[in-house]
Symmetry: C2
Subunit: 366 residues, 2 copies
């Protein structure tokens, strides 16, 4: 099966095999060694000097941790929404009582530094900005480096959902000045779902001291205290640690520039292939189209479900649209482990699936 | 290595191998089949007609879900504490704003139905009772069946931490009338940590409708909605589902009576062996000593750390004490997968470890 969802992602067999290691005491020396290695390797890949904390949860759990540990009920915050995951992050803050001001960007577009600056200037009381780096639902990557500059110029806390970007796309956490960054093991990290990774800047830790939102399982101060002895507060998902230990070593062997180049090449390859099939990209401007997931407009008069079904019957799993895009787009994930032949197979099968549903693209009939 | 902590627990190799299955789409048909099978099997093993929801978290996350979905800030609840995990459950409720009334039982003892009845009668305004079934920190099992009767007679909601009991000790959820019950994959279930399982009675779902504590990641209404289509709201820890799928089939093959008999026999075997070594059990009365974990008093003048170190050097991992018991007791886990020879080896190695640290038991010198 060629799994082309933007998480879970395919995993090389040697990393899958690592999952089958024996159970160990999560308070003992074997786990400590793994924890230390994973933690040190994540710091390198996050390009941060700050600790990377690991939580047993999906990426969503990591995002909840980011919100409830740094914010307080009634606190005004800016949520920049460019898709379904931007909505989720802002709603989390609302659920726990924050006073969320929404900057709603049309889905399919990126937020611009200018628009975020304008939102902040129009809302001088907001303390923090919640924003998605790579919006998995629309296949759009926000220019977080530039956005971070306008947020930092205005001295606000920057909380970034980097679930589907970090470890795949350039995201130098410290250089850009991201205060809280969150990712998940099942994305570019070549590991299964089950662990969220969260890192906080010294400034974010100051916010933690003031935060009054309730937290227990996701209490990051507890996580930090346990991290100091290479443990987690609660029993961790040990097999996912085993996998991550193996995958991070492989990722670091190649190095960050190679990782970024591989994702750039994959994005280019998939976009070119999709357009050659006569399809249109969902992002309005290719300059911000994501290099980890490509969102494709479903041709008028055709059904996302039919196209996905036809592809699945040929063993290629495409992702559907999410929320209000569920019937109008479909998506191809290209992050983490993705041999070129699997990307080419996905394009080839997509072409056959389109033929099967009766789509006669302009390019093919030209 | 002979892992004798009360979770994580040893896992048979065929179940470990199941962890290495390929990644799949958690919104697709392969996951749906696994979800349905795991869910149906858990219902049988929980002895409940209610749905069993699965959350990607440790058992602690499941307990937080139980609390934040059924209670509201300011709501008076009774927390019955017989050890560190009883404290944790009550503190969770306090953290999210409940008005917690504590019934503090001396550690090493069980709560009695009479004492819980008295607490409820002294606190007529409490709506709910939070209590641990099997207190892993003290090796004591509460008589939840009898306690449930007094709680139900008084028409209160009963929320039970069954993390280290369900799937090992008798706990017929519906027959006893437990409203919310929580367990974790790494305990008697012969699977790795990473999934919490939670089940709610119709009465508990009514409480959910009134609950105003904030929740997002652990929102059980969302989990129920997704469960209706055999999915989870957030990306689940797929490998742990694979393992649980394999282990539940094995557990059901043997049947519940065999599971309970195996744990009774293991408890008897370990208690007899420990006493034969001249050691004393921590539970004051053997009638409520746990059949999943045995807590042992560290002999006067000896160090828990030294005994554990000596055993670990012989490849047997014993658990230490927790919280205020950390220097005064140590523990042997006997739940889930536990061949008799591994239990005997643990006792034999414990005997050697005691010799090494210079403990000359009365029994040995008699």
């Amino acid at each position: 099966m060629n799994l082309r969802t933007p998480g879970p992602t395919p995993i090389p067999q040697d990393i899958l095999n690592a999952l089958s290691g024996p159970m160990i005491d999560h308070r003992g020396p074997f786990f400590r060694d793994i924890y230390d290695r994973v933690s040190a390797n994540l710091k390198q890949l996050f390009e941060t000097q700050n600790d990377v904390l690991m939580l047993t949860s999906s990426g969503s759990g990591g995002l909840e941790a980011a919100v409830v540990n740094t914010l307080s009920p009634g606190e005004p915050v800016l949520a920049v929404e460019i898709g379904a995951f931007g909505v989720r992050l802002g709603r989390m803050a609302e659920t726990f009582g924050a006073d969320v001001r929404w900057q709603r960007v049309e889905w399919g577009q990126a937020a611009t530094p200018e628009s975020v600056a304008a939102s902040l200037d129009a809302n001088p009381d907001v303390t923090s900005v919640l924003i998605t780096h790579n919006e998995t639902s629309t296949g759009v990557t926000n220019p977080i480096g530039e956005i971070a500059q306008v947020v930092k110029q205005r001295d606000r806390l920057l909380i970034v959902d980097a679930v589907s970007s970090l470890g795949s796309l350039p995201c130098p956490v410290d250089e850009w000045g991201i205060d809280v960054v969150v990712t998940g093991s099942q994305k570019g990290w070549m590991a299964p779902p089950g662990l969220a990774m969260v890192s906080l800047s010294p400034r974010a830790w100051e916010a933690v001291e003031k935060s009054t939102m309730p937290k227990f399982y996701f209490d990051l101060k507890q996580a930090r205290d346990y991290a100091a002895r290479s443990q987690t507060p609660w029993t961790p998902a040990i097999p996912i640690f085993y996998a991550l230990d193996a995958s991070l070593t492989q990722l670091l062997d190649g190095g960050l520039p190679a990782i970024h180049a591989r994702h750039q090449a994959a994005g280019d390859r998939i976009r070119a292939g999709v357009k050659a099939l006569g399809l249109s990209l969902f992002p309005e401007d290719e300059s911000y189209a994501s290099n980890t997931v490509t969102a494709i407009k479903c041709p008028d008069g055709f059904s996302v479900a039919d196209i996905r079904k036809a592809a699945a019957d040929m063993d290629v799993v495409l992702a559907g649209g999410q929320a209000r895009l569920s019937d109008s787009i479909f998506r191809i994930g290209h992050l983490g482990y993705m041999p070129e032949e699997e990307l080419d197979e996905a394009l080839e099968v997509l072409g056959k699936a389109l033929e099967q549903v009766g789509f006669a693209p302009a390019a093919a009939t030209a």
